[in-house]
């Protein structure tokens, strides 16, 4: 009986600890960040003290591990904390979530058959707007919201 009571208390305490949640939390960036990829494939965002290596992203998109050279990446974070990344001539928008010392792909969203010409993101809470000329879509952490315009 005693053992049962102790176990029950432990379960209650551990449950109370794991359910601690600070909300609401807002992770959205007011505007996208346009960053040049350096010669090592790194992208560094000073305002948010944020950097990552983009080689794998270019390999995934272009099947060329050196394709990052001289490229810019357009990055924005939505209010839920997902990172949206694309670039000129990309066919996809990549949605990442933060993981331990890494960004983990959550969704790869196909947006253009021929590749984007001049894409940009806008923060349109609760969505991320992707515009490329007349092409315009809204994105969430799950993918496209509302379809292409």
């Amino acid at each position: 009986m005693r053992i049962f009571v102790v176990l029950a208390l432990l379960v209650i305490i551990s449950a109370a600890c794991s359910s601690l949640k600070l909300s609401p939390a807002e992770f959205g960036w007011p505007i996208e960040s346009v960053q040049k990829v350096d010669k090592e494939g790194f992208v560094k965002e000073d305002r948010y003290s944020f950097s990552f290596n983009s080689k794998a992203l270019f390999l995934e998109e272009m099947q060329d591990s050196m394709a990052y050279q001289g490229k810019d990446l357009r990055i924005i974070r939505n209010q839920d904390g997902y990172y949206f990344i694309t670039s000129k001539s990309f066919k996809n928008v990549y949605i990442f979530e933060q993981a331990e010392a890494s960004l983990e792909l959550k969704e790869k969203v196909f947006v253009s058959e021929n590749g984007l010409n001049n894409p940009f993101f806008n923060q349109r809470n609760p969505y991320i707007e992707l515009v490329d000329g007349d092409f315009k879509i809204f994105l969430t952490g799950e993918g496209i919201y509302g379809g292409a315009k």
């Binding site: 007011p30 505007i31 996208e32 357009r74 940009f120 993101f121 806008n122 515009v131 315009k136 509302g146």
Partner: protein, 411 residues
Amino acid sequence: MKKLILINVFIILIASNLFAQSDYEIVQNFKNRYQQFEQQIKNAVSVEELNALTGEIERFKNEFSTYKELLDKSLYPDNFEKSFDKLGNSLVLRRTDFTQIETLQTEVITLRTEVDELNKKNAELLNQIQILEVQRKKDAETIARLEKLVSELRASLKKRDELVYAIIDSLAPKLSGDVSALTQKEKEQIVAETEKKNVLYIVKKSLRDNTRFLEVTTLKPEDLKDVKEQQSNFVSMWQKVGPKLVDVYAGRKDKAQELKDIDALFTSWKTGIQREAWESIREDFALNNINLQSFYNGNEFTEIITSFINDEIKSYGVKSKEESERIYSVFVDSVWYKTIANEWMPYLLENNLLSSQQKDLIEKKIAEWKEVISPKNLTLIYVGVGILIVLIVAFFLLRKKNGSKPVESAT
């Protein structure tokens, strides 16, 4: 709830269709225009230009007020209002600069008038001094008048130079940074200001007057020390702006030549100070009717002095003894020990115009000359020794005489 989200999406879609613009581009555009205004405020050359900018900044603010919310979030660590407050403060500060510049310009105009007046006065004094210096025979009254005029002129030149320093100094703030980084417009502004203040002319005039002052006057070592200090101050002051003006005037041959002239005048003044020491020394000999050849450095001085003494030694016995003794007395007692050794020698040694070896060589030569003019009189020594021998002989003779007398009496 679902209805609310749909309305939200609908509003966003309409707004997005109206303004299919990149927020990033809007912020970048704002930042670029903002930086341009900052630069324009910095480069403004008049209050009128600043007034025009105030209006433009107001229009810029109105234009972007639509994006205030976006800019508030994006202009971290500033925001929309704070950014315009900063521009406003820059405008106020720049306006203060112009007020100060206007005050300084008024001061410089006053300074220039004073410089012109002092230049006239100095020219008159220089002429009067030259007339008196030309009179070879100087009575006490003339010398006193001359000394008074020289002193007056020196004070006046010093005062004029201080005014010139103030005018040069007024250029220094604009030339304090890296001149090569100045824009063409900024360089033109400095050129205009330099021309307006007539800086190159007044510097040249000042340097010429200072050199001429040395030419027409005979100075003492303590006066020369002052002049040297004055020259050194002038050089330091000119160093602040002179080399930078060369860059500012690059491409303008006439002005580049004027700057070269100024450098040459500085060199001439420096050389003049050295020459003045030697000329004043020569003048000290000349005042006592010992006319030496010109000398302009320690070697020449040593050579001419030793050569003069050698000639005197050689001619001893050829001309009258009295004349040789008179020349020796004037040279050594009235000039060398009284003026040169006492007054000039410390200055010459201190300024490395003469080495201690050269000084020793001359003094050795003077001692040699003294030996010829008044040798130690050996006759007296011989006479003295003779008298002493006579006295000793007499003493022994007397003693001997006294010692033999009792023997005689005993026998």
